[in-house]
């Protein structure tokens, strides 16, 4: 499916909140959207375009802003689609996709703890790979390797 | 479902046969291994020993890997100190930063001879260093036994690596070819001050300082204070270690393509 077709289908639903569809080699395109239209876009991707499979959510820290990249797969179309949205660094939050694709749950937890992106209405936003009470976000560019970190780990009795 | 999958044996409904099949398989294996089990009695038998490999193959009638299985093995390094040119490339290419260049006796008085010292506590045996070595003096051998009671003994000094070299263990024969379009060291002439640092530190002595004509100062213009020499790099001798680039005080040497 060409990026233009995706753009037409999504544009009808999202209007100006769709910022554009760029071609991306090996996929159906890279959909750039405004975070206010996130839920609607997700629903449209799943229901209208048949992207039932959310493979990955990657958070990227661009220092001045942050980016979330969603990778979707559609069995019926047999190709990938990338969604990406830019978030301001001081107010990085976006609607959670875990209501649409349950697989988003862990990916969003990881993006939250690694790149400090908050996912609104996430059912269970807590640490996944890092210990509980960890106060840093390791995949931010400001987190330098080779620096001693202060780490306080809470223990839990079960 | 693919055809092969449907053809997979469906177990029959006879419950006695059910337990009998795996037990028969185990018994067959038992009979086979009565003579010679497949295990290798490690401290006494060694995989890298070609004599032993033939023995196993004959005894159990099964392939034990390819013939040249140990030739490419990446184990402990061997260093030929005599041919080392102190180019630092091994230390540069080490992803784990486990190589440190230490001074060894035998250099000329002007610049000390430095050879790699490898900390096997950190080494990941990736082989980038031996791939990088332009002279082939740092290679990897088939030696893999490193255990020692002291952590400090995991650090192999150049002399110790030379001892490994002298044992004449089989060495990794693979030598990478240089990329065809390798970059060269280029000079940004206006920045150079002719300080000779690059030529002094070049491990292959491929940089020569050539005199350049001193320009005549125009009136009102002040000539830069410098030595009127410029480095010229002999590309065929250069090993592309980048020492000159890193010692250049004015950052006037850089990587680039001559084309």
């Amino acid at each position: 499916m060409a990026p233009t077709e995706v753009a037409e289908t999504l544009g009808a639903r999202l209007g100006s909140r769709l910022l554009g569809v760029e071609p991306f080699p090996g996929t159906a395109g890279r959909v750039r959207f405004d975070r206010s239209g996130a839920l609607e876009l997700f629903r449209s991707m799943r229901d209208d375009l048949g992207y039932l499979h959310l493979s990955m959510i990657a958070g990227i820290d661009w220092v001045d802003h942050r980016e979330v990249v969603y990778v979707l797969w559609s069995d019926t179309r047999g190709d990938y689609a990338l969604l990406s949205t830019d978030l301001p660094a001081n107010d990085a939050h976006v609607e959670s996709a875990s209501g649409i694709w349950p697989s988003a749950n862990w990916h969003e937890r990881e993006a939250w703890e690694m790149v400090d992106i908050t996912f609104d209405h996430h059912p269970d936003l807590r640490h996944l790979l890092m210990p509980e009470g960890y106060q840093f976000h390791p995949l931010l560019r400001s987190f330098k390797l080779h620096e001693p970190e202060q780490l306080e780990v809470k223990t839990r009795n079960v | 479902m693919t055809e092969e999958l449907t053809a997979t044996e469906k177990p029959s409904d006879n419950p006695v046969l059910y337990v009998a099949r795996p037990m028969a398989t185990a018994a067959r294996q038992f009979a086979k291994s009565l003579l010679r089990p497949s295990t290798i009695v490690y401290p006494y038998e060694r995989l890298e020993d070609p004599k032993f490999r033939e023995q196993v193959q004959v005894a159990s009638g099964k392939p034990i890997g390819v013939g040249a299985v140990w030739d490419n093995y990446r184990g402990v390094h061997a260093l030929n100190i005599a041919t080392c040119i102190s180019c630092n490339l091994c230390a540069f290419s080490c992803p784990d930063l486990c190589i440190e260049m230490v001074t060894v006796p035998g250099g000329d008085p002007k610049h000390a001879k430095k050879c790699p010292e490898i900390d096997y506590g950190k080494c990941s045996y990736c082989g980038f260093c031996s791939d990088a070595c332009p002279e082939g003096c740092l290679t990897m051998t088939t030696r893999y036994e490193l255990s020692t009671p002291k952590r400090s003994e995991m650090v192999y000094s150049p002399q110790k690596l030379y001892e490994v070299y002298r044992t004449k263990l089989p060495m990794n024969p693979i030598r990478l070819e240089r990329p065809a379009n390798e970059d060269s060291i280029l000079l940004d002439p206006p920045l150079c001050i002719g300080c000779n640092a690059c030529a002094r530190d070049c491990p292959t002595q491929c940089i020569t300082m050539l005199e350049i004509p001193k320009p005549t100062a125009k009136p009102g213009e002040k000539l830069p204070k410098r030595i009127w020499k410029e480095p010229v790099v002999n590309d065929s001798d250069c090993v592309r270690c980048g020492t000159c680039v890193s010692v250049c005080p004015k950052e006037c040497l850089f990587w680039g393509s001559r084309r």
């Binding site: - | 037990m23 185990a26 018994a27 291994s33 009565l34 089990p37 295990t39 009695v41």
Partner: protein, 376 residues
């Protein structure tokens, strides 16, 4: 040699010692030392020590035997480094465990924690006092020795459960519960299978049961009972495929998760003691004990201690079968195990009792004496 018993040997031994000691003493001391009561007491002690040493030695050799066999089943060698072919490996392991510090978890109940393994070990060893090894080689003719052996054998779930509960660990507790449920479920078919043997042999005395097999071994007429007995015995011994109480995949090590050092060694040894007892019982009840078929040349049975030799050979072969099963079958699940126990094993065991009763009342047992492979 046939009228020499283990007890008579130890009695003679202690009598000689007491006589030698007594001859050095004077007067009333001499009479006190030389009395029958003292000799009997010492004889019992000597007997116990011999039994202890023999059974422990056998157990350790059994562990070695299993390791070697399993090794070959798995295409490897098993223990091979300490001693010839690794024979001393288990002694080395035992020494290591013996030297280890024994400790209990802080929250554990100390009394139960230490009592459990000890009692388990002791109860398993007790059985050896009852089992006849060769004609006359037992503690003496007990008319109900089979029953007594099985009673002692079935103490185990209690001790396992005590040690599991008192170690205050969730895995241990689950293992203990499974163990109790499993052993109780399989106790019933085990006993019913034994009833079939008793019906045919007409006695509860193990020696008599073996004598009854002079003409034909019981596995022929009682093949159903044999199957039930072996399956139930596997469950009682907690070996794969019925090793759920210590299923290491999900319960770490089951009821002995919290044990280390010598207490763990107790469990380990007692497990193999019970495995030895199980194999011995199979040999005694179904495979003719120390007797050999009549078509075997007499040279094979005429050398000294031939009875014990052939008895041990049979026992080790039976245990080898258990090892074979262990090497080739996966573990079953608790509910499946119990369902098989109550729904399949007990009807089968009842069937075997019925068949045995039929054979006895129809007087067709001597037929089996004509089949040479049965040992007639």
């Amino acid at each position: 040699m046939s009228n020499v018993t283990l007890y008579s040997i130890s009695y003679d031994l202690s009598h000689a010692v007491v006589f030698a000691v007594g001859s050095l003493a004077y007067g009333s001391w001499r009479a006190a030392i030389d009395s029958n009561a003292v000799v009997t007491t010492i004889a019992v002690l000597v007997f116990a020590v011999i039994l202890l040493a023999a059974s422990m030695l056998n157990t350790i050799v059994l562990i070695w035997y299993e390791r070697k066999l399993l090794g070959r089943f798995m295409d490897r060698r098993g223990a091979m480094h300490v001693g010839y072919a690794g024979l001393l490996q288990n002694f080395a392991d035992g020494l290591k465990l013996f030297r280890k510090h024994t400790f209990a978890p802080r929250e554990a109940d100390d009394l139960g924690f230490y009592f459990g393994p000890t009692a388990y070990m002791v109860s398993s060893m007790l059985i050896f006092g009852i089992l006849p090894i060769s004609s006359g080689w037992n503690s003496g003719a007990l008319p109900l020795s089979l029953l007594l052996a099985l009673v002692i054998f079935s103490f185990a779930p209690l001790f396992i459960f005590v040690s599991a509960w008192s170690s205050n660990n969730k895995y241990s507790l689950m293992g203990g519960m499974r163990s109790a449920a499993q052993m109780i479920a399989y106790e019933v078919p085990l006993l019913l299978a034994v009833v079939a043997v008793v019906l045919v042999a007409g006695s509860f005395d193990l020696s008599t049961i073996v004598y009854e097999q002079q003409n034909y071994w019981f596995w022929g007429p009682l093949v159903v009972a044999l199957v039930v007995f072996v399956a139930a015995m596997l469950a009682e011994m907690e070996r794969i495929p019925f090793d759920l109480p210590e299923a290491e995949a999900e319960l770490v090590e089951g009821w002995n998760t919290e044990y280390g050092g010598m207490l763990f060694a107790f469990f380990m040894l007692a497990d193999y003691l019970r495995a030895l007892v199980g194999s011995i019982l199979v040999v005694l009840l179904f495979l003719g004990g120390w007797t050999l078929p009549t078509w075997v040349p007499s040279a094979a049975t005429s050398f000294p201690l031939a009875g014990i030799f052939w008895f041990m050979v049979k026992t080790y072969i039976v245990f080898g079968l258990f090892v074979w099963v262990r090497a080739s079958l996966p573990r079953v699940r608790t509910d499946q195990l119990l369902r098989v126990g109550w729904n399949r094993m007990i009807p089968l065991a009842l069937l075997s009792v019925f068949l045995a009763a039929l054979l006895v009342s129809a007087r067709c047992l001597p037929v089996f004496g004509c089949v040479p492979s049965l040992g007639g």
